[in-house]
């Protein structure tokens, strides 16, 4: 209950406190130290959630890939091997932290932190239900896009600081890929902003309630000719942004050994690992909030999933379910498709995705004006 109360009252608000309820908010009333404590507890909580989901996803990835490849996948540690990922995490924590002698030590040590920090912060901005949102600001999407692109800096730092030519290649590929795919990614976000007139993911989800069978207002159904292709473009750009196959060039195992994290081991490596899986969830959740109706369920009126505790719980569950489906699709794609070459990655972005996203954006403007 404490957790939910904390979540639902949004303690770590950027614009300061208003209407103080909840334990942590109470803490904040004690001035600087109370505020610091609240922030630390909030961060610990956030970090906990941000690393619990990746543990689930690594398990899912290994199970799903196992099933696709006629293997079992992890099935020894805990029920269905669920604790395997945790065991691996503990193993990584206890491994020796190797820093190559010729590496730029400071950058090498800082890089994984930067990569993970951006992602964990982005977690705070993702609304799971009307009140289960840690930070609800009017600049939500803008902030998320900014935090997600922070990752590329960490990756370039890691690649450069490793003093390994393969790592450098990985970092350069990451830079080229991320910067390029930010364009269709951003255009699709703009499309959602145009449709809702808001940058807040929470308001987007609220706006998608109602309509035919309570799905009529989901953006992909509300504006099928432009939002549906845009959702697909966004998903592809999301794959590229999260470095998932077929866009896993920065860490292409068969080409660059392990790309930018070749020299990393132990818990620094696990940061990159957590980041990849956390970003899968964050981006899926954004996609769900923008295009797939957020926490709204078919047949269930929008008012039923906001306000009451049970309704909010259902909303959180719906949101997680929808995101998990998208994460599953990402896993599915990874174990099916080969990798694209770097020039094909670029031409896909600039020749296809960007024009399509632009057309969808313009079409949406027209659609919204006409409607």
């Amino acid at each position: 209950m404490t957790v939910l109360a904390f979540l639902s009252n949004g303690t770590v608000e950027l614009q300061g406190a208003s209407g103080a309820t909840g334990i942590l908010k109470g803490l904040a009333a004690y001035g600087f130290w109370g505020y610091l404590l609240a922030a630390l507890v909030g961060f610990a909580l956030l970090f906990g959630i941000a690393s619990a989901l990746p543990i689930l996803f690594t398990w899912a990835e290994r199970r799903v890939s196992g099933r696709m490849q006629q293997r079992w996948g992890p099935n020894r540690v805990g029920p269905f091997g669920l604790i395997q990922a945790l065991a691996d995490g503990i193993k990584l924590m206890f491994k020796e932290d190797i820093i190559p002698a010729q590496a730029d030590k400071f950058l090498f040590m800082v890089a994984p932190g930067i990569v993970l920090a951006g992602m964990v912060s982005a977690f705070a901005l993702v609304p799971l239900s009307d009140s289960a949102v840690i930070v609800d600001t009017s600049l939500g999407l803008y902030l998320i896009a900014a935090l997600l692109s922070l990752e590329v800096i960490g990756v370039i730092m890691a690649g450069w600081a490793s003093n390994n030519k393969w790592s450098l290649f990985g970092a350069m590929r990451e830079a080229a890929q991320m910067v390029s795919y930010e364009i269709p990614f951003g255009l699709c976000i703009l499309l959602a902003v145009v449709s809702y007139g808001s940058l807040s993911l929470r308001e987007m989800s609220l706006a998608q309630a109602g309509g035919f069978l309570n799905v009529g207002n989901w953006l992909i159904f509300h504006n099928p000719f432009f939002a549906l292709p845009a959702a697909v473009v966004f998903f592809i750009a999301a794959l590229a942004n999260t470095k998932r196959a077929p866009f896993d060039l920065p860490e292409a195992e068969s080409e660059l050994v392990s790309g930018f994290h070749t020299e990393y081991s132990g818990f620094r490596f696990s940061f990159f690992f957590l980041e990849e899986y956390a970003s899968m969830f964050v981006i899926s959740a954004i996609l769900v909030s923008m295009f797939l109706g957020g926490w709204n369920l078919p047949f269930v009126p929008g008012s039923a999933v906001t306000g009451s505790f049970g309704g909010e719980l259902l909303a959180v569950f719906t949101m997680l379910l929808k995101s998990f489906v998208l994460v599953f699709v990402m896993i599915w794609i990874r174990w099916t498709l080969p990798r694209i070459r770097i020039d094909q990655v670029m031409s896909l972005c600039y020749k296809y995705l960007t024009p399509i996203a632009f057309a969808c954006l313009i079409g949406t403007c027209w659609w919204e004006l006409a409607a």
Binding site: Q69, F169, E255, R339, R341, I342
Partner: protein, 397 residues
């Protein structure tokens, strides 16, 4: 412009009237060791590449990391003792290696082999060819970035290996085909299981085709990449799928039939540039895929003939226990999964060779890399090395 990194635009007008922009960006080549511990050099191959960004400007293959003096060892052990060493040149096609060595000794010592042994030799050679091409298929998928086909290939290869395990007790290095015959006859019921394998394998082959061969991304990655024109292929002495992928119809089983290959019908697939240019990576890959089906076709005929024409147990030829080769020279080439495996034997009347020269197909195929790689991208280099399908055990011997 003199300072590095500045971009200069020369506005010139070409013949067609279009403006050409010459970008004077100063870049520096980077020399990188690709291997010997690189995941996609298929063993301990080292390719020293010079790369300008993602584009290779020069590539020099270095080999010799697992040189084990096989040819010198041959001069110091007797003929039968050398058989296990042949397993280890191309460890993915040990049966074919055994066969190549057995054939040259039989030719030099003028031994006769029982028909049943010959049929079984063809069966194990073709079955091993399927297993070897399955690795080629699986690892090629991995080189391109698709992990799942590898395990699909291994699923069938596992069955192939367990078949060999039932036959001779070994799963990788068989030492089954000996000069003058075989280690043993097939166990009861083995042919029936092999027939089931053939039936199942043809169905699974369709899966591979859907999963990897016709995958849009796979085709985009392999078509028009690493094109070896027929002339270049012949100049470099390529054999096997690398040569046939360039459209040259040369297969020792067809052009210089050994064993009973002249009594079975099969096609020799050649690259026709179905997806892009003739002789590109996709063609070489597809030649291997079709060869697997042709091997199944040969297997079926061999099993039928073997069961019909011969009686179980009659695998003994006319060799004596101690094998001596007279003062003579002989060459025998066999079509290995990777190309022509040639053995040149000089006998001196003793029970061990005076000299044994091995022509490994991978070694010759590898030589084309330094002509093929410059100008391609790093990802293409991986695709090209994979499509040549070398086994380093055979390159170095």
């Amino acid at each position: 412009m003199t300072t590095g990194g500045r971009i200069q635009e020369h506005q010139e007008h070409s013949a067609s009237g279009e403006r050409e922009f010459v970008l004077d960006v100063r870049t520096q080549d980077m020399e990188i060791n690709m291997g010997p511990q690189h995941p996609s050099t298929h063993g301990v191959l080292k390719v020293v590449i010079r790369a300008d960004g993602e584009i290779l400007t020069k590539a020099t293959p270095h080999m010799g990391y697992i040189h084990r003096c096989a040819e010198k060892i041959a001069e110091n052990v007797n003929y039968d003792q050398f058989v296990p060493y042949t397993d280890r040149y191309d460890y993915l096609a040990a049966m074919n290696n055994n066969l190549g060595y057995a054939l040259v000794v039989e030719k030099a010592a003028d031994l006769e082999v029982a028909p049943r042994a010959t049929w079984i030799r063809m069966i194990v050679a073709e079955l091993n060819r399927i297993g070897s091409h399955l690795i080629a298929f699986g690892t090629y998928g991995m080189d391109i970035g698709a992990f799942t086909p590898f395990l699909y290939g291994f699923r069938e290869r596992e069955w192939m290996m367990s078949l060999f395990e039932k036959l001779c007790g070994a799963r990788l290095t068989y030492s089954f085909v000996f000069p003058g015959g075989l280690a043993n006859d097939v166990p009861p019921g083995w042919f029936d299981e092999l027939k089931r394998f053939c039936d199942v394998f043809e169905k699974k082959w369709v899966e591979y085709d859907k999963l990897l061969t016709r995958n849009k991304i796979f085709i985009e990655r392999t078509k028009n990449v690493g094109v070896i024109p027929a002339g270049m292929a012949l100049d470099y002495g390529l054999t096997g799928p690398c040569l046939r992928g360039s459209g040259v119809r040369y297969d020792l089983r067809e052009s210089q039939p050994y064993l009973f290959y002249d009594q079975v019908s099969f096609d020799v697939p050649v690259g026709i540039g179905e997806m892009g240019t003739q002789g590109d990576c996709w063609d070489r890959y597809y030649v291997r895929m079709i060869e697997m089906l042709q091997s199944v076709r040969i297997l079926r005929q061999c099993i039928e003939r073997c069961e019909k024409d011969t009686t179980p147990g009659e695998i003994k030829g006319n060799r004596k226990k101690t094998l001596r080769v007279p003062v003579t020279e002989a060459y025998a080439g066999v079509e290995n999964p990777r190309g022509e495996l040639g053995h040149y034997l000089v006998g001196d009347g003793s029970d061990h060779p005076y000299r044994l020269k091995v022509r490994g197909p991978s070694f010759c195929n590898l030589s084309v890399l330094q002509e093929l790689l410059p100008g391609t991208m790093i990802a293409d280099a991986v695709a090209i090395i994979g499509s040549i399908d070398i086994v380093l055990g055979e390159v170095d011997r």
